[in-house]
Amino acid sequence: MEMENTKKDISLIEDKALAEAIFSKETLMQFNENQQQVSSAFFDQQQASILKAIGQQKAKVIVFSKYRRMAVAASLLAIVATTYLYIQSSKQTTATVEYVKIEEIPSEEIENYVNSNELIAEIDWSSEINEEADMFEESKIDINSNKDTNKAE
C-alpha cells in the first residue's frame, strides 16, 4: 500500500514537472494565487446565499404542494358531490314510479280526473260537431244555389 502511494506520488511529481518545464513553478503558483484572491468574507457570504436559495426553493415546494393538496381535495369533493347528486336524482325518478300506483290513489281523485277529462272531451267533441254542421249547412246552400242557376239556363 505504502509502495503504491509512493508510486502515485512519483507519478504526480513527474506530471507536475512536465507543466513546470513549460511555465515555471512560480508562474503556476502565481496563477493559482490569482484565482484564489477573494475577500475574507466571501465564503461566508456565499454560504449564506446558498442556504438562502435552498430555503426559498424549499418554501416554493411547500407552497406548491399546499396548492396541489388543495386542488386534489377540491377535485375529490367535486367528484363526491357529483356522484351524490347523480344517485339522489336517480333515486327520485324511481320513487316517482313507485308512488304512482293506481291502488293508492283515492277513488274520488280518480273520479274527479275522469270527470274533468270527460268535460274537456265533451267540449272538444261539441265544438267539432258544431263546426262540421256549419260546414254542411254552407255546402247545402251552395248546392241549392247551383241548382237554381242551372234551371234558369
Binding site: 504526480l12 507536475k16 513549460i22 511555465f23 503556476l28 496563477f31 490569482n34 446558498i50 442556504l51
Partner: protein, 180 residues
C-alpha cells in the same frame, strides 16, 4: 469530526438536513469554488456556478448511493455545471476570436490579476485555449493533486483517457507558448 460518508448518511436519514449539509458545504466550498474559478477565470461567474453546484448537491444528495467518494461526486457535479455554463456562454455570445483576445487581456491586466507578467499572461492565454475537458483535467491533476482514478470518475472517462488528457493539455500549452 465526522467524515463525509457519515454526514451524507445523516443528511439522507434526517429531516433536519441543514446541519450535515452546512458541514459538507463548509468543508468543500473553497475547493469547488477555486476549481470553477480556474476554469472560468471570472469571479462572478465562478460564484454563480459554484452556488448552482451546491443547490444541485442539496437536491440530489438524497439519491446519492455512495458508490464513489462524496468529493468525487461533488466534483463531477461541478464539472458538469461548469461545462454547461461554458456552452451556454458560447451559444449566447457566439465564439468570437477577437472577443476572446480582448478577454485574455482584460483577465490578465484586470483587478483580479494585479501582478501579471508576460509569462503569466501567456499561461492565462494557454489555459483558456485548452479544450474544456483537458483544462479541467489539468487543473485537477496539477492544483488539486488528484489521482487519475478520481479524475477519470469525475470527467466520465477511463484512467488512460484522463492521463492522455493531461499530457495533451501540456503539449498544447507548449505549442501555444511557442506560437506567442
Amino acid at each position: 469530526m465526522q467524515n463525509d460518508q457519515t454526514l451524507v448518511m445523516e443528511f439522507q436519514q434526517s429531516t433536519q438536513k441543514e446541519g450535515p449539509f452546512t458541514q459538507l458545504l463548509k468543508r468543500h466550498q473553497q475547493r469547488v469554488y477555486y476549481q470553477i474559478k480556474r476554469m472560468l477565470n471570472n469571479h462572478m461567474d465562478a460564484d454563480d456556478v459554484a452556488q448552482q453546484v451546491w443547490i444541485k448537491v442539496w437536491n440530489k444528495l438524497d439519491g446519492f448511493k455512495m458508490e464513489s467518494e462524496f468529493s468525487t461526486w461533488l466534483f463531477r457535479i461541478a464539472y458538469n455545471e461548469t461545462l454547461n455554463f461554458i456552452q451556454k456562454q458560447q451559444k449566447q455570445a457566439g465564439f468570437n476570436e477577437t472577443a476572446e483576445k480582448i478577454d485574455y487581456e482584460e483577465a490578465a491586466t484586470g483587478s483580479d490579476h494585479p501582478k501579471s507578467t508576460q509569462i503569466q499572461i501567456a499561461l492565462d492565454r494557454a489555459v483558456k485555449q485548452l479544450p474544456e475537458k483537458q483544462r479541467f483535467v489539468f487543473m485537477l491533476r496539477y492544483f488539486e493533486a488528484l489521482n487519475y482514478e478520481k479524475i477519470a470518475s469525475i470527467t466520465g472517462t477511463t484512467v488512460g483517457g484522463a492521463k492522455a488528457n493531461y499530457h495533451q493539455a501540456i503539449k498544447k500549452m507548449e505549442e501555444i507558448l511557442k506560437q506567442d
